[in-house]
């Protein structure tokens, strides 16, 4: 097994921030303390001589990040991404676990598909991939997926992401049925009849460009509905990719009432506005769409006060040719895994500890992955760690991204915050910003 010494870094976890070296042996943290503590712990196991030393000078050593929202495209759309390439992008972004959305082909609505995803993830060995199950069969919104069978196989998060569950009666039954299973249903909030043909945020910009608008209301109505369903059923609801100011307000009020709701926001929803579409570049087309400066301010405020629990990327790879289509024909979505940390550090006026919380232990809890991920950096804990330099500047070059696709809206942007090493299961899968597998 691999033994590691992470030297000269600053540990940051839910217990706070402290200067400490970290020793890892056989996938477990065996020392957090002075350099001597760390090397002694390995020496006591006859593990010092072959230990890999990872320099963490100027770096934060934190629990690995957990992305609640990625599209890995396999099975079905391997030309856009595979579980391996997506896992590599995740590892380079500091993520040790990702929740894979079920809108694959076939969708994650049966045990064999879930098993396939896990097998491919284990083969890649770059991060844990937790497949989210479908709420309804084939995400068609008509009949419940086998929530109980999938829950028994360890699936904990369920969603029809890409589609909202339109029928309130069906969503109510799904939540009622889910409650004793100890699972969380996550909603893609979009009332479909309000977004027919929609390409971008409904507002001044779409009016000018002559593009069909995606009104904020379409998200907010479903957020509101599902808050009421959480109240009625007592089952937890997680809101995916919140994008509007009013959605944030609704979730804030629901949390103040003590309702079992959580939420996430994607970096593009706190960094980019609908004005980006004026050049008709489909790389900026995403669902829900880029919104207004007021919405960005509200998303940031929601992250600051904890209304929004997690930063989740909605990593959505698409091959170049599909993004070169006219806007109404191009698929929505943008890459996110390799830029999430840097965008958060660069754009969020938040203490670093709160950013790491929103990237690590808070989403780990929502995904029910908190037995292994988002753990404190402490002796006896599984070694799933991110080591990043919060001050390092780098420029986004699409061709250098590990994802199989190139559809990042941040090409050429200089960002602050770079992942240096990622340790997954005690193995350094990224060393000095280079993937080792």
């Amino acid at each position: 097994m691999t033994n590691l010494l992470i030297t000269n870094g600053t540990v940051l976890d839910q217990q706070g921030e402290r200067r400490a070296d970290v020793a890892v042996a056989d996938g477990v943290i065996v020392a957090v303390g002075t350099a001597t503590d760390a090397s002694d712990a390995l020496a006591a196991r006859q593990a010092l001589d072959d230990a890999i030393v990872l320099d963490a000078t100027g770096c934060i050593v934190s629990p690995g990040f957990v992305d609640l929202h990625v599209h890995l495209r396999e099975p079905g759309r391997e030309e856009a991404e595979t579980i391996e390439t997506g896992s590599r992008a995740a590892a380079l972004g500091g993520f040790t676990a990702v929740v894979a959305m079920p809108n694959t082909d076939p969708a994650h609505d049966s045990l064999p598909t879930i098993e396939f995803v896990r097998t491919q993830a284990a083969r890649a060995g770059l991060c844990e991939v937790a497949p989210a199950g479908c709420i309804t069969l084939a995400r068609a919104g008509e009949q419940l997926a086998p929530l109980g069978e999938l829950a028994a196989a360890g699936v904990r998060l369920f969603t029809d992401d890409g589609n909202g569950v339109q029928d309130p009666a069906l969503m109510r039954r799904a939540l009622e049925y889910a409650r004793p299973l100890g699972i969380t249903l996550a909603q893609h909030c979009e009332v479909a009849s309000l977004t027919k043909g929609a390409v971008m945020h409904e507002g001044s910009c779409c009016s000018h460009l002559g593009l069909p608008g995606w009104p904020a209301l379409a998200e907010e109505l479903m957020v509101h509905r599902d808050i009421e369903l959480a109240r009625l059923t007592g089952a937890p609801v997680h809101f995916l990719h919140l994008s509007t100011a009013r959605s944030v307000e609704l979730v804030r009020a629901a949390k103040a009432e003590g309702l079992p709701v959580t939420s996430e926001a994607a970096p593009h929803h706190f960094t980019l506005t609908d004005e980006m579409l004026v050049g008709f570049d489909a790389v900026y087309k995403v669902n829900p769409p880029l919104r207004t400066p007021a919405d960005i301010a509200a998303i940031k405020a929601g992250l600051r006060d904890g209304t929004i629990d997690a930063i989740a990327t909605d990593h959505a790879p698409h091959p170049p040719e599909s993004k070169e289509a006219p806007l109404d024909q191009a698929p929505p979505g943008m890459l996110g895994l390799e830029t999430a940390l840097a965008l958060s550090i660069t754009e969020l006026d938040m203490p670093l500890a709160d950013i790491v919380a929103a990237l690590s232990w808070k989403p780990a809890r929502i995904a029910h992955l908190d037995a292994r991920h988002g753990r404190p950096v402490a002796v006896g804990e599984p070694a799933n760690l991110a080591v990043f330099d919060p001050a390092a500047e780098w420029t986004v070059v699409p061709a250098k991204l590990a994802s199989k696709s190139r559809n990042t809206p941040y090409a050429g942007r200089t960002l602050r915050g770079k992942v240096r090493h990622t340790i997954y299961g005690g193995v350094p899968v990224v060393i000095d910003s280079v993937a080792q597998r």
């Binding site: 507002g203 779409c206 000018h208 002559g210 593009l211 008709f280 070169e324 006219p326 024909q329």
Partner: protein
């Protein structure tokens, strides 16, 4: 000027310049032999992803009268149906040696996107709900000649009536009329207005009767039947009652007022009178001027800077005297 994509890219000087050029083209069109060698050796491709016989014919005629070689490329006969991407289509035709693409596309922004895949000039012949700049130039030319407004539209009140939301003509016309100094009022039910036009240089009214007597130009848009499916209006009958040009409304128009329509008209819907009986109807006039306007645009994009033979110089407009250059 490399491309003509969006009326918002042109200022008043540039619009006046193109309208001045159009005057020359009208003169050419009135000759017994309406053809000049201005664009000899240039190749213009009409690339229509959406069928529009009248606009394509207008561009086709315009290019031929300037002696350009013309290729017509309609979507039904193209490899687009075989799954070829927009980019591949453009790059393939560009490789044949092309100076300009005239592009009509059902998707807003497609002509804009195309500019990154070719060195040729792009003329937007209508994209989605976005822009139709040559229609706007043509409308300006019609108003300018019919109301004798060579220097601008200051003091004119123009109402654009109907389905503004889905209209590329309205978006281009608002920009062009405003640039030339007109006061523009949009008249439509709220469901047929774009969701947020607070930044547009227009007034909005839902009461055609309240302003029809003060208009200099009444611009009617085509009302499409499918709008009823989306619950944007209850019925065409009700639309006509509230927003159509009925005989009663026509009777209240000022004597000099123009009635314009980009075509094709829905007789009995937005045009509930016989346009031939309206003294101010410009509909056929608009079609005739369309060729001249498109000649001016093609000449502006392809002719300027090109070599002029003695023959062309004599026969074709000299842009250096026609007005300021873009």
């Amino acid at each position: 000027m490399k491309h003509l994509l969006d009326m918002g890219h042109l200022d008043a000087m540039q619009i006046h310049h193109l309208l001045d050029l159009t005057d020359h083209m009208v003169e050419i069109n009135q000759r017994p032999m309406p053809k000049v060698p201005a664009l000899r050796g240039k190749t213009v491709v009409n690339l229509f992803f959406e069928d529009s016989t009248r606009t394509r014919t207008s561009f086709d005629t315009a290019a031929r009268r300037l002696s350009a070689d013309v290729m017509n490329f309609a979507v039904s006969s193209s490899s687009v149906n075989k799954g070829e991407s927009l980019r591949d289509t453009i790059e393939t035709i560009t490789a044949m040696g092309v100076d300009a693409f005239v592009v009509r596309h059902a998707s807003s922004g497609a002509p804009h996107q195309i500019t990154q895949w070719t060195t040729a000039s792009i003329v937007n012949a209508g994209d989605g709900w976005h822009q139709h700049p040559t229609q706007a130039l043509l409308d300006c030319y019609t108003i300018r000649t019919r109301l004798n407004r060579t220097t601008g539209f200051d003091g004119l009140h123009i109402a654009i009536v109907g389905d503004i939301k889905h209209s590329r003509v309205a978006r281009s016309d608002v920009q062009a009329f405003n640039a030339l100094g007109a006061r523009v009022t949009l008249v439509a039910p709220p469901t047929l207005l774009p969701p947020d036009i607070s930044t547009w240089p227009v007034e909005v009214s839902h009461d055609l009767d309240g302003l029809i007597g003060s208009l200099d130009v009444l611009y009617l848009l085509r009302m499409q039947r499918e709008r009823m499916r989306d619950a944007l209006v209850p019925s065409l009958r009700e639309y006509t009652t509230l927003y159509g040009l009925t005989p009663a409304r026509a009777a209240r128009l000022q004597e000099h007022a123009l009635v314009m329509h980009p075509g094709p008209m829905n007789r009995g819907v937005e045009m509930a009178v016989d346009p031939a009986e309206l003294p101010g109807s410009t509909v056929l006039h608009q079609v005739a001027n369309g060729v001249a306007v498109r000649m001016a645009v093609l000449f502006e994009l392809l002719g300027s800077g090109g070599e002029m033979t003695a023959d062309t110089a004599a026969d074709s407009p000299d842009p250096s005297q026609a007005g300021p250059r873009s």
